[in-house]
């Protein structure tokens, strides 16, 4: 028959392993991102990018990722603001909803275009030199 002390060490090591993997899952970040901009009469009227950390686990597989340069920073908002143009063109590639309405009153024209990325969950992996951002679908 085994001693109680021997069983205790093995139980502890299993518990440590579970804790280690649990901590790994916690560090894998998931963010909810939405983007919307409004153009009125060919002039940019309003632009809004919402980034927030997901409060629950997202389901789905990651699609084509975007890799942004990073110098050890773990703040996604700061990283995106540093690479704004690149991230914006990446969002365009993902696909945006286009809603355009034009109104012509007595031969005077006015138009409004709204481009929207609906709230999408992104998986973000922070590394030392780069950040990998991939939407989940």
């Amino acid at each position: 028959m085994r001693s109680r002390d021997g069983n205790r060490t093995s139980t502890l090591s299993i518990f440590k392993l579970i804790l280690f993997f649990y901590s790994l899952t916690l560090s894998a970040s998931e963010y909810l991102i939405s983007y919307r901009y409004v153009v009125k009469d060919a002039i940019l009227f309003n632009e809004k990018l919402d980034i927030s950390k997901s409060m629950h686990k997202c389901l789905g597989n990651p699609l084509t990722p975007l890799i942004l340069e990073n110098d050890g920073n773990h703040n996604l908002i700061e990283i995106i603001s540093q690479n704004e143009e690149e991230f914006s063109s990446y969002l365009h590639q993902l696909g945006l909803n286009v809603k355009h309405s034009e109104f012509n009153l007595n031969n005077q024209n006015s138009s409004t275009t709204v481009l929207t990325l609906k709230t999408t969950c992104f998986k973000v992996d922070f590394n030392d030199n780069f950040v990998r951002i991939a939407p989940l679908k």
Partner: protein
């Protein structure tokens, strides 16, 4: 008597058959390419019903044949606002507006536009004339080909590639 009844039956049968057959039995063969259009016109004159039928039976040409791709290209325009703090900001804002315009043009080309018009006429005079156009679509995988910025106007050339396989499912 017997023969006269048979004759009447035969005559009525032939009249029924004559009603069912087309008005003209003349057939012009239009296979010769040199006489092509003239031949078809002549055929249509002789039997307009047949001309309509042949138009209906012609195989419809696919816009996007199997294995081929269609490239749709548009140029969107955007203007920088008057109160910008730097030329760089003006460029960035104008580019955004031009991109949105290009997206709108792509959506219009691929999906179409809904148009509503209304004219109010009172005492034989147009009081109010309105035209409202709307587009709503989802555009994916559009590529920016070229961007130019000149005298406050930004132009973005954008293209989208449509493949037959995207619509086959």
């Amino acid at each position: 008597m017997k023969y006269s009844l048979l004759l009447i039956a035969f005559l009525s049968a032939t009249s029924v058959i004559a009603d069912e057959t087309p008005t003209s039995n003349i057939i012009i063969n239009c296979e010769n390419p040199e006489k092509g259009t003239a031949c078809q016109e002549a055929q249509a004159k002789i039997n307009p019903m047949n001309a309509d039928m042949s138009a209906e039976n012609e195989p419809k040409e696919d816009f996007l044949a199997k294995g081929s791709v269609a490239r749709i290209s548009v140029i969107g325009q955007g203007v920088a606002p008057m109160n910008t703090s730097s030329p760089a900001q003006a460029y960035a804002l104008a580019k955004r507006a031009a991109t949105a315009d290009a997206y709108r043009l792509l959506a219009e080309k691929v999906k179409g536009v809904r148009i509503d018009g209304q004219d109010l006429v009172k005492n034989m005079m147009v009081q109010r004339s309105t035209v409202r156009t709307t587009v709503q679509a989802m555009v994916k995988n559009a590529n920016v080909v070229e961007t130019t910025f000149k005298e406050g106007l930004c132009e973005v050339e954008m293209e989208i590639v449509l493949a037959h396989s995207q619509f086959s499912n």
